[in-house]
Point group: C2
Chain length 508, copies 2
Amino acid sequence: MDFINPDHTSWPANILKVHAIGIDTYLENVIYLRADCEVCKSEGFKALTRVVVSFREVEIVATLNVVYSELIHHNEAGLSQIAMKRLNVQNGDLVRIDHLDPVNSLGLVRSKMYGNELAEEAYQQIIHDIVKGRYSNIEVAAFITACSANNLTIPEITGLTKAMIFSGKRLNWNKDMVPDKHCVGGLPGNRTTPIVVSILAAAGLTIPKTSSKAITSPAGTADVISTFTNANLTLEELQYVVQKENGCMAWGGGVHLSPADDLLITVEKALDVDSEGQMIASVLSKKVAAGATHVVIDIPVGKTAKVRSAEEAEVIRQKMEAVAAAINLKLKVVLTDGSQPVGRGIGPALEALDVLAVLRNEENAPEDLRERAVMLAAEMLEISGTVGQGQGKVRASEILLSGEAYQKFLRICKAQGGFREPVVGKFTFEVLSTVFGKVLEIDNRKLARIAKLAGAPKAKGAGMLFLSPLGREIQVGDVLFTLYAEAEGELEYAKEFLSNLNEVLVIG
Amino acid sequence: MDFINPDHTSWPANILKVHAIGIDTYLENVIYLRADCEVCKSEGFKALTRVVVSFREVEIVATLNVVYSELIHHNEAGLSQIAMKRLNVQNGDLVRIDHLDPVNSLGLVRSKMYGNELAEEAYQQIIHDIVKGRYSNIEVAAFITACSANNLTIPEITGLTKAMIFSGKRLNWNKDMVPDKHCVGGLPGNRTTPIVVSILAAAGLTIPKTSSKAITSPAGTADVISTFTNANLTLEELQYVVQKENGCMAWGGGVHLSPADDLLITVEKALDVDSEGQMIASVLSKKVAAGATHVVIDIPVGKTAKVRSAEEAEVIRQKMEAVAAAINLKLKVVLTDGSQPVGRGIGPALEALDVLAVLRNEENAPEDLRERAVMLAAEMLEISGTVGQGQGKVRASEILLSGEAYQKFLRICKAQGGFREPVVGKFTFEVLSTVFGKVLEIDNRKLARIAKLAGAPKAKGAGMLFLSPLGREIQVGDVLFTLYAEAEGELEYAKEFLSNLNEVLVIG
């Protein structure tokens, strides 16, 4: 049913002129209609009413907000920025508004709420409707909650993974073996990707690496990459770079490989829940969509990392391996130390400097970052069969120490648009110790919080240089870490947090 | 932490002038800030960012929308209508914007997601934060989903019920016995409340009845009442009416007895889920908050009613009784026939006419409505000890047939602001049968849908007169039901639905 009444011969009431209202509602499509327009009257204005808005072949679902002022004129529909972008409309274009028919797959979500196991096809329907924008945020929240904790069986996670793969594009590299890596985040400074990509591409492997931007952390790999090269590649550009240099370092969001995941993650992060099943489906579907055949997963384990115990990591490992087997993906899970930050930098540019120091074999390059990158590259060389078992580390180190990796890194940057030196924030503040003793414990989450208050990841040069690894002997007056900011105000925000310094670092 | 930087001596960046933007976002508080204002820059603009907005002693949490146009001037904050109302501000007032600290009780919601049983105190914290507006809609959705299906134990439902009672006002009538009734909805036309209230108040019982408006149905009891008197009483008015006439028929939303429930129900309805535990807590907490001591619950059971089987009803009965016992509420649950609409009217004014016909003892008054009302009044006379066991029906019938109930009804209406005759819509359409046979099945939900398309409950005179009860022998050309609308366009919408008539009524 729609609003066009076939008996009316006048201009249809559900065709309205777009008014670019200039409101950014983040990822939520909002349509602003006058209270006295036909559509408002027909739909009624209940809780969270949603309507279908279409322009040419594109169709979105938008939440209705009713306007009682003169913001919107007669026969106009205001659209939020994301709605305009998704519809690809300009001010003055004519859009059509229709009633939203009931979304059938919500019945499946309700069934999941009741604890039932859903079939693979159910996940396909749900993900299809989510990608079409037919779910409101609260409906996505209900789906995420119903699938949270350990509510999904292995066949269900497999079904969800497949549904997410089918929901978007899938790259094909015409290779028997395409390696990829992923880190189940949560550890500041753990920026191995540019080093691993450089080593493997130099070794002749095809590694079309896509990474994410930070959502709740002070830096995502894509944020770090964008401080030294262009990470925002189109699919065509990505294919060109990989063809030319075997590898790339791109922002995954630019190539829309997993549109379902982008939507789910927004709500998951807002809820601050990490559903195990959805995390596994998210990671594995992205890898498969990017064309990967062999994947190494890094799970840092530590009290203040995302995964807090070896037991928890073991459960994830087993589930990941089972799902990977079901979708014909070769997978290796590596558990790593998650008790403290990796390297010294926290924040996009500061982490990039650590990466460059390792690639350039600088004397003061952070050893822990180098070791982790070599270890992961080694695992990938081994599972891909490029070298024999136990030969990975030697080969990866060789490529790194000889400068081959750095040369490859520079060539990839060049293909992506050129290399530039990362620039750190010009406002700095050294945090000095008022006590002496040994560094006994580090709260990774609070360090991340301080770096974010200083402006990271939005301010690319902001964050901190962390100088107090576990076990360091601290004297009164020693620099524990240095804050970096791009604006004085942001430096002040970060400084305000320092009154709780003993919750960040335990020195005793 | 807030945005005021103590080092700044200039005007604080987080004090902004209210701009009434005239956008109705329903129950969601939205604040519209310029992209270049300090608060936007400090908070960053991530998914679904929320900030605290305060004015004098009132504090709300609002979702941040960023404005890139000239809708909002420098040093201004646009507020959605509900946000202005809740803050009680006018255009030009100065409000203060602060960072929203993490909401601790969300950790309890996550624990519930993981299947843990929560303590009574946990529900108090969660409900407290929900009432304070600290949960976003998606967080409320997560809470509702985590508590859905049969995820709550009896002690948990009890804890939730108590938390909801404590979250708002609680009336005290200084009586040992205050009866109340509630129907677990879903049956069109089941409008016994005005009749039951009139009988019991005439019998000398104190019955301070509050009812709800329709959310997904074509009429709530409060919608029906508002067609013949003023239902929108303040707490003081309600107390005056009850003092004067023993009973009242008021809209519950006007007296804010259960602020938590109002917020939960909005999201529940949008999700179209009925969590058993939350339904029980919602119903019982409202009764206790209204001061009731003895409650009769009507559960219509039928294939297209809310409760679909006797087994399901039995489970609800047992749980309700257990929770009622735990909070010292005397409770009687009555299962009734839910296979077809009650009376003939569906829609506010049309249902009111049925109610009046029964109260006035009109010859053609719907017998089924009369019987149900008498039965419920009888149960309440009995559980309250006003009459002996088995004497209720006789006494209730007596009060109704003698006209005492109608006189009491008119006096209550007068105390509430006066009685007026309900007015039905002037656009009508008779739906004729094209087949003959017996009415074998009725889809209550589809009848409700048609009445809503005709404009109910917003258009008070809209809906239908349903003339085809189960078992009626239908001839070709007989009127099955008559549509009523207040606008021609709405009549057309309802008529469009008639092509699926065989899904609404099975005649054979």
